[in-house]
Symmetry: D2
Subunit: 468 residues, 4 copies
């Protein structure tokens, strides 16, 4: 209500009480003001009431919600279903314009504000999470893989001759496909085994660049967050090589925002060498539904070029989700989640070690991986090769989700490229193993229940093995 | 957003678009302004977006939603469940104060406004529906029956000697109980049969008053809306008698707001004689959930006295429901519903007549009842007395709701009072019958499906009878 | 989805995954099963997803949601506004029948289940909270005061000669009005001062009974929860007197469910003497919106008699709120809230004592009051009698809610009865004071902020006094 | 509730009523069953209650909603904000797997069902809208432009030598960018003027193919729905050429589903020649929020190849929106919308003609364009070249949205390609003009208000011109 309406209310309700109410309203306005002016994630989270009021205010700034609007275009933000209108808070026009996904829409001042604020708040959080010198970013309603594709497609225009992408191997289909879809030939660099860890073969990368010729290489495509025993790529060294050979460098930071280590690697890489863009998942880092990614970088104009490559308007849904989430958590809430994740990682790590010992297995020693752990499954694997995959099914039917069982020697062909030892990031990793991760939002109960069920499954497996 | 926040938005989004958005907001504010200043139901309904914004604005005026509030009382509007908070739009403090259900609460300016506006809008609709000289009213979160009880309890303080309530018979339990619960002795006036209609026996009323002595009578308790073949009481004559003998007159107008005839009776009664209060159901007249009533009257101070009799704060839920409903319908939408109801009454009437003829039955001739119809069930009743109630069950299991089957001669005792011919408003109505009504919100489809199913059931009944 | 639909789903999605999904569904069904069979509050709270599914299931059992229903009655559960339908989960028919608020409705199996389950779960919680021998109860959508009125009106039919209600004084308007509204004459028993506490004058009660004659007394109307320095009535002694003189005993337990002491008093009273019914607020004990109460007792048939006194159907809204809340908290969650309240009471008590000392005031010594505290305002009161009420306003405008400032010697007339020293429960309590309470849901932050603001206000008041 | 729970309910509520309730539930199940078994859009729309129940059922089949789930993966569908969880009905896992956007997810049987059903229902609607021989399709959460890009990227793998895309000119940025982003060189074919219409220059297309060599051409990229005076491409002729030269053919059918003419063109093209895929917007055809498209085709394996090109999981939000919308409209509701659109087109056409005549302008004669109309702005343009764009601003500030003003001779460079006469689809269209369209969901009120405001603006413009 504006001042006039508060005035009118005093006819009906004691003026002192109305003034108290107006005062109450003002506090919400001040929060909103700080957001609009600073463009930062508020330190303390907003309650649902403020968030909903804010979204309501944005919505009535869009032309589809104008009481007197008449629409004679081909896209007027009309909604046939009330259920749909409500779940989007009547923000229907999406984000961006046909020319640029970050652009402002004349028809939709509210949605445009939403888009700007989301990108601004997300940028603030990326800084807070460790990449302090990031210059800009935008949320795009596409998977991490498709967002990497968009980066590669943008680079094509800058490096018309390039055909190859240098890619230290990581066995995750969408990473590989992101290059195939963009129309490039991935040059797979096998990892080297250091202790239990699989790490970037820096020398092989440099050798390959020399062999192929820098101008034929679109970019280096490296990875931070990954399943153990692979560990984040040696970003600093890669970034230096990229700088030296003048090759772009795109980092797949899929679920790395939640780890200060991953973010530190990016920050360091950018400081000492070259990183053009780093891409991260919304759902994996911010506890929102699947479907969005953040493309961020250190060079404002390059990030803008990427945003201008997206042809058409786009769904505002992922932006809306992450904005609601960050406003509701606040910076302090998000930091708290990061802290808890780290603590749970330590807990999972020490408990899984004990369990491994009990079962005559080993927690693989992968100190460079801050999120994922691996426990050997030697005993299971030795006498009976189906036992490992059976363990996987057993865990699945017992409602353990996310525990990944990796047998030895599986072979898979993805888009005509054959991977030996698929899932293990190496042609022949020494043993079968099981992965468990401590990802953002994990609770102690998840860990405890997981360990209990795993213990039970391993015992059952053993018995069955003996019976066989 | 206030002006400052729109200003801040212009840093992020083209100023012209933001101004357009601010303009959009203004239109919603203007609607609200008109409501606050005129206190009338808007002619055209509001869209959901305006209504929700309005409720949101009210909510943040209540202390439980103040961002900086600290509460050290015994009732602070805290809500344990988010589901509950949301479904009440965070309006938690209810309506009224311990002294008066219509009073303003210091802690809750928003809820207080809600209460005042609801009563004001409802008053406007009562006028529009035909009782033009009503002076005030209030919504109370109690059934019609309990609201009548509250009226009687209020009258007790004005007529300490009175023990009796004169009540032209209507066979609906809660009407009768409303007097019993208040602690009075109902004096039942049997109706007279005029043609098929059961009508008020005015002479018996007057005779009874003389017999008991006016000062011993708390009030006359008359009824408008009722099941045919009973018809609305002769309000004018009753009101004149009440005026003559200086006896209060309370009208049970349960679902009469939807009928211009019922409303006209009240208006006329008040014009020529005496009506102290008339009570109507919210759910039956305004298509909201069960649970509220409106107590209205022609004398401001008497209606206030009633509102001051309710000890304690009360649920805002029925007020909220009726306010949302009336704002969303608008006066024009409500009038349209009234119009459609009347048309459906005619349609139901003519179609039911045809069906009755086909089955050798009669649509009873009850021109004074504007809502309910009755069709004789003579053939069914004659040879086999359970057939009538069986027809009721058959209709129930075929998902016909509200069709009421009335056998002859059933006897029921309610609070020690024995009613012969219960349900038929008379000791021995000439025949069994079936009731069907055209109530607000009824659709042509309801009528058509009802007639089809009834036809089928009657045929089945006949066959069964023959087999017996 | 039923088994057939899961089967059909396997055509579209891998059977193993569908079975996993069906398994997931089963877990929700089992929760619901336990509720239906045991009728108890589940130990662990349900998540929103289970609750909403449950409400949805209830709703589609009501005839207004039948896909093939046709309605020709005067009340068909039609809803004009989608906003209204949704906020009630499409449960429109309310609770009870015209004959009995606890009765089952043929048209609304789902709403009827809701009503039964709510009363059953609430009964379970009352036992858990300390009144172990309670036999039944029902939720009624009326304020505590109006619910007390209903109890008195029920008693009238059992004691037709009775005119008086014995009432140990408590200065809260709706308690007093509950008797007036029911048409009885309250016989006020002044409290006795013991130390700082105001306690029941047992001898005066008994003397009054003798003087008036037991048969002329409707009941004793006692109170548990109240503002310090009044403390809960001596229920045991009152209950014994009631038993001895064969007088009904109704307890106003407004916000006493949250205190094990209040509940213990009721349990003891019923054990050693007579308590017919005890009435408690829903909002004050269960953190739901204002508007409902629970009427409970030890004699099943008497409680049923009360429920049969309510004439008409009633709003299901308060029942729905409390059911959602208790299912979402679970018994353990509710007990946790009770525990936290108790801890906060200790904290508030010790901190308020310190603050009082600093300001040369006293925390009144009221060990029998488990919820409310009082701090003297002697210095403020001495030189300047408006200062006390000014302090109240200062706290109000600083968004301190619920802190109640009680000056000496205010006089108020309620329904023709004049109370000296109104608000202080005594004709002349020795000093002015300020109340603060630790009610369910209070947070440490409430206490801390309150103390800080109070400290500031007291300092300001002092300065102003000096200036005067 | 399952059968056991209904059984348990009979302990609490009369068995006959519970059975009636179970019957009510069954009707909802049957609807769902038909959907699961037939995979078609139901003829009659579902009410919100059935839709929400259905979504609820889907959600509890996903592992993130399992009551006993423990998650130790990197993506567990956890949601930080309740607002976000609710607005997605707790369907968090998105659609597809890293390998294929149409694939089933083990963790999320419910979301997988949603995905399958959506694609199936949408396919049914495409057939119903006129492309009867379509074989499969999928919803992708990307703009139409980006979806075209995905098609082109898929074709690249089949035609590794190809560098060009043949593109009959349409002045809409994202169409052009879709090719640029995919890394191809658009070969612009200027349109020919036939009467007022701009139509495909079939001969130029064929000449260009010959000149460049078929194997160097990735595909022909044609367009149906477009702004007048351009009209849909001559799809039949283009399809025949594509078949003859063995060149793929991708159709941009952006908002063509709403027009039987556009759909007929596609059906005919596929019958007589070659169409590989046709892409349409969700928001423009189905009244849902911006952000999704449908990729459809006549060859099942090719459409699958496209779906396998999307690297990563994707947002389920657009799928959810369109499914809700189609279930709520039903096939009959959608057909009704198409019918109304067509009627409004006629109305807009005749009324705009009258208005044009009144202002001495012409409604351009564009019989082949079934959606968009153009009215000349000769008088405005003649004496004063800014007047045309001023008219655009005037309409914008008067809350006319979608009316597009096209001046003569504007030049724009998009990704280094310079378009003369940009916006008019031709280097020098004879006159300036204004576009208005009749798009799905338009109301008579839109047309009437538009005409009134346009009339006013034109009069104002004229006056201003005179003053100048």
């Amino acid at each position: 209500m504006n001042a006039e309406n508060f005035g009118s209310s005093e006819r009906l309700v004691t003026a002192a009480y109305v003034r108290q109410g107006a005062q109450g309203r003002r506090a919400h306005e001040l929060r909103l003001r700080a957001l609009l002016e600073q463009g930062k994630c508020p330190e303390d989270g907003w309650d649902e009431s403020t968030i909903e009021l804010f979204l309501h205010e944005l919505a009535i700034m869009d032309s589809n919600n104008f009481l007197g609007n008449c629409g004679v275009g081909e896209r007027e933000g009309r909604v046939a279903s009330g259920l749909v209108a409500r779940r989007h808070y009547r923000l229907i026009h999406g984000i961006g314009r046909s020319g640029d996904i970050s652009a402002v829409q004349p028809k939709a001042a509210g949605s445009s504000l939403l888009n700007k604020l989301t990108n601004s708040v997300v940028l603030d959080i990326i800084k807070l999470a460790g990449v302090r010198t990031v210059t800009n970013c935008f949320v795009v309603p596409m998977a991490t893989g498709m967002s990497l594709t968009l980066c590669f497609l943008t680079l094509r225009h800058k490096r018309p001759k390039a055909k190859y992408i240098i890619w230290p191997r990581i066995d995750q289909k969408s990473c590989f496909k992101s290059m195939i879809t963009a129309g490039f030939e991935p040059v797979v660099i096998e990892n080297v085994l250091e202790g239990d860890e699989l790490r970037t073969d820096i020398e092989a990368v440099e050798a390959k660049i020399k062999a192929l010729g820098a101008e034929n290489i679109l970019c280096v495509h490296s990875t931070t967050s990954c399943f153990a025993p692979r560990v984040p790529d040696r970003l600093e060294e890669l970034a230096v090589i990229c700088a030296n050979y003048d090759i772009p460098h795109i980092v797949n930071n899929a679920y790395g925002v939640q780890s200060s280590k991953c973010m530190h690697l990016i920050q360091q890489g950018a400081r000492v060498g070259r990183i053009d863009a780093f891409v991260q998942s919304l759902d994996k880092n911010f506890m929102v539904p699947v479907g969005g990614a953040i493309i961020a970088g250190f060079n404002e104009s390059f990030v803008q070029e990427i945003s201008k490559m997206y042809p058409g308007r786009a769904s505002a849904s992922p932006s809306l989700d992450v904005l609601i989430t960050l406003l509701s958590l606040g910076a302090s809430g998000y930091k708290q989640l990061l802290k808890e994740r780290k603590e749970m990682f330590s807990y999972l790590s020490s408990e899984l070690k004990k369990l491994a010992d009990n079962h005559n297995e080993r927690l693989l020693d992968t100190p460079h991986n801050p999120i994922s752990l691996a426990m050997s499954l030697k005993n299971l694997d030795e006498n009976n090769d189906v036992a490992v995959t059976q363990l996987g099914s057993m865990l699945f039917t017992r409602q353990v989700s996310g525990a990944r069982v990796v047998p030895c020697g599986s072979v898979q062909t993805v888009n005509n490229y054959t991977f030996k030892g698929f899932m293990s990031h190496a042609n022949d990793y020494p043993c079968a193993y099981l992965n468990a991760a401590s990802a953002i939002g994990i609770k102690k109960q998840d860990v405890d229940v997981f360990l209990k069920r795993l213990d039970k499954c391993l015992k059952t497996s053993k018995k069955e093995k003996i019976q066989i």
